[in-house]
């Protein structure tokens, strides 16, 4: 009977440990969000979204007079949106087809090599994708540009999209394939009309989560998009991004208050992307 009560005690001990440790992991997250919210919310108003970054002088005057810093991060928001959009357009078709290939040819040697390479690409430090995009795009174009930034982001998106597409397709039952082939479907039609539509929810979720992972990337953009103080719609010109602005604000003591507001904006963006992804995953579940 004695050993029995010791076993119960051990069980309780382990359960308590698990709960304490789980709570501990939440602490940094709560602290980050709390800090960003408290310090960031004051700067957020309409002009934060519609105006471009203020000059150091304007910001200094405002801070000295105890006023809010004028201006906003519109140049960063438009830049981020443009680059993410171009990167998605580049990465989605390639990633989708690659994922289909990997899922359809699970055991072949070539698929094994590709899968291994995507894993390496996924682990590649983002600054390196920036250097690659610099060599591929910035050097031949002789200018920093949004296109170069998009290429570096696309390189980062690719492995994420490939893996999520592959995994979603792997979950589809074999009976779906049999059903379409038994109706005399060609391979192409089966992939386009049955497999991809059936996996659509999972694929879209994967794409959104991938975007939320790269939307805050800074290092590769420093080497490619460079930054701009005005809204830039020409993808061949240097462009700003929200993450780049945070870096700029950090380097300018007069603008340091803006760090928190820009961070808050990025955090909310990522949160919205994640929530949307979850909703989609739920709604499109087969």
């Amino acid at each position: 009977m004695k050993s029995y009560s010791i076993r119960i005690l051990k069980d309780r001990l382990l359960k308590t440990m698990v709960i304490i440790l789980s709570v501990l992991t939440c602490v940094p997250l709560v602290l980050i969000i709390g800090k960003v919210l408290l310090k960031g919310y004051r700067q957020i108003n309409l002009s934060f979204f519609t105006e471009t970054t203020p000059s150091t002088l304007d910001a200094m005057l405002a801070v000295n007079n105890n006023q809010l810093i004028p201006g906003g991060i519109a140049n960063g928001i438009t830049g981020t949106m443009m680059m993410v959009l171009i990167a998605t357009v580049i990465a989605v078709p390639i990633g989708l087809l690659c994922g289909v290939y990997l899922s359809e040819n699970r055991k072949t040697r070539f698929a094994g090599i590709i899968r291994f390479l995507t894993e390496i690409l996924q682990g590649t430090p983002s600054i390196i994708t920036g250097i690659i995009a610099y060599i591929w795009v910035v050097v031949p174009m002789r200018s920093y540009s949004a296109i170069a930034g998009s290429v570096s982001l696309a390189i980062m998106l690719l492995p994420l999209i490939i893996r999520s597409t592959e995994e979603t397709l792997n979950l589809l039952p074999e009976s779906l394939k049999e059903a379409s082939l038994s109706l005399g479907s060609s391979y192409t039609m089966m992939v386009l009309k049955v497999l991809i539509p059936s996996a659509f929810g999972g694929i879209l979720t994967g794409i959104l989560l991938a975007i939320s992972r790269v939307i805050g990337e800074t290092a590769p953009l420093m080497l490619t998009a460079l930054g701009a103080s005005a809204i830039q719609w020409d993808p061949a010109k240097p462009t700003s991004a929200v993450s780049l602005l945070i870096w700029e604000f950090y380097n300018d003591p007069n603008l340091s208050n803006m760090i928190w507001s820009a961070s808050l904006f990025l955090l909310i963006l990522v949160l919205v992307l994640n929530l949307t992804a979850k909703k989609i995953a739920k709604k499109w579940k087969i």
Binding site: L176, E178, A179, S180, L181, G184, S185, S186, I286
Partner: protein, 253 residues
């Protein structure tokens, strides 16, 4: 001379080299009748059936030798897409396309083959196919709903309708009622008997009662071999082979 639609000639199928799951099967299937393939689990009955519409090509390790003639043409030499359109298939578990409505499911064979139809043609095919499987009255008001919202038995009838929409010569059925309850099973059995005027049916079943109820001819397979093939009535009342008799009387299987 009876009208033969499907001719198996020395068919062998192997999953692993040197070990035949179907061993040297030769048989002629008659047009316009229901032929059942019976046998205990693992006897190769599904394997033989799936060889007919070349489903085995999904799995590259499977090897097939011998010849299977459908309407006088060797299917192993034909384009698999053509073979599969001539020989429709219904599987063990109902598998309507989850992203498509009932309407689209029926027309899936046409969509997947890139055949364009006018709205009127589509409506007519959907109505007649659903009517043929006795589903029209049950689903005519919910054609735009997803196929997966139907009950298991309805889904299976939808799958039969989907296979029939392409007007195949042969309908291959791989234990189509094993996932269904007795009432749904009875409905499908009635349906098959009605359908045989339009299409030849080859049905794999491990349910002897089902084979006895609906089929005109029966094959009994054991360990990959075709042990006996005869008129169903004759086989059930007077089996020639000891193994058939043992199976039918429930001594193994």
């Amino acid at each position: 001379m009876e009208d033969i639609i499907l001719k198996f000639h020395n068919v062998c199928v192997s999953y692993t080299e040197g070990k035949n799951a179907v061993n040297d099967v030769s048989a002629d299937v008659r047009r316009g009748l229901i032929t059942s393939i019976m046998g205990p689990s693992g006897c190769g009955k599904s394997t033989l059936l799936r060889a007919v519409n070349r489903m085995h090509e999904l799995y590259p390790d499977i090897k097939i030798t011998g010849s299977i003639e459908l309407d006088g043409k060797d299917i192993l030499k034909m384009n698999p897409i053509m073979v599969r359109r001539m020989a429709g298939m219904v599987f063990q578990r109902p598998n309507p396309f989850p992203t498509m409505s009932i309407y689209e499911n029926i027309l899936a064979g046409y969509t997947l083959n890139g055949i364009r139809l006018s709205r009127a043609e589509k409506d007519e095919i959907v109505e007649s196919c659903l009517f043929n499987v006795g589903l029209w009255d049950e689903v005519k008001d919910s054609l735009t709903k997803r196929g997966s919202f139907l009950s298991g038995g309805q889904q299976q009838r939808l799958c039969i309708a989907r296979a029939l929409a392409l007007k195949p010569d042969v309908l291959l059925m791989d234990e189509p009622t094993s996932a269904l309850d007795p009432i749904a099973t009875a409905k499908i059995e009635d349906l098959l008997v009605q359908l045989k005027k339009d299409v030849t049916i080859v049905i794999v079943t491990h349910n002897m009662g089902q084979a006895a109820r609906i089929s005109d001819y029966s094959m009994f397979m054991y360990l990959g071999e075709l042990v006996e093939y005869d008129k169903t009535q004759k086989m059930f009342t007077n089996p020639k082979d000891k193994r058939t008799e043992a199976y039918l009387t429930g001594r193994f299987g």
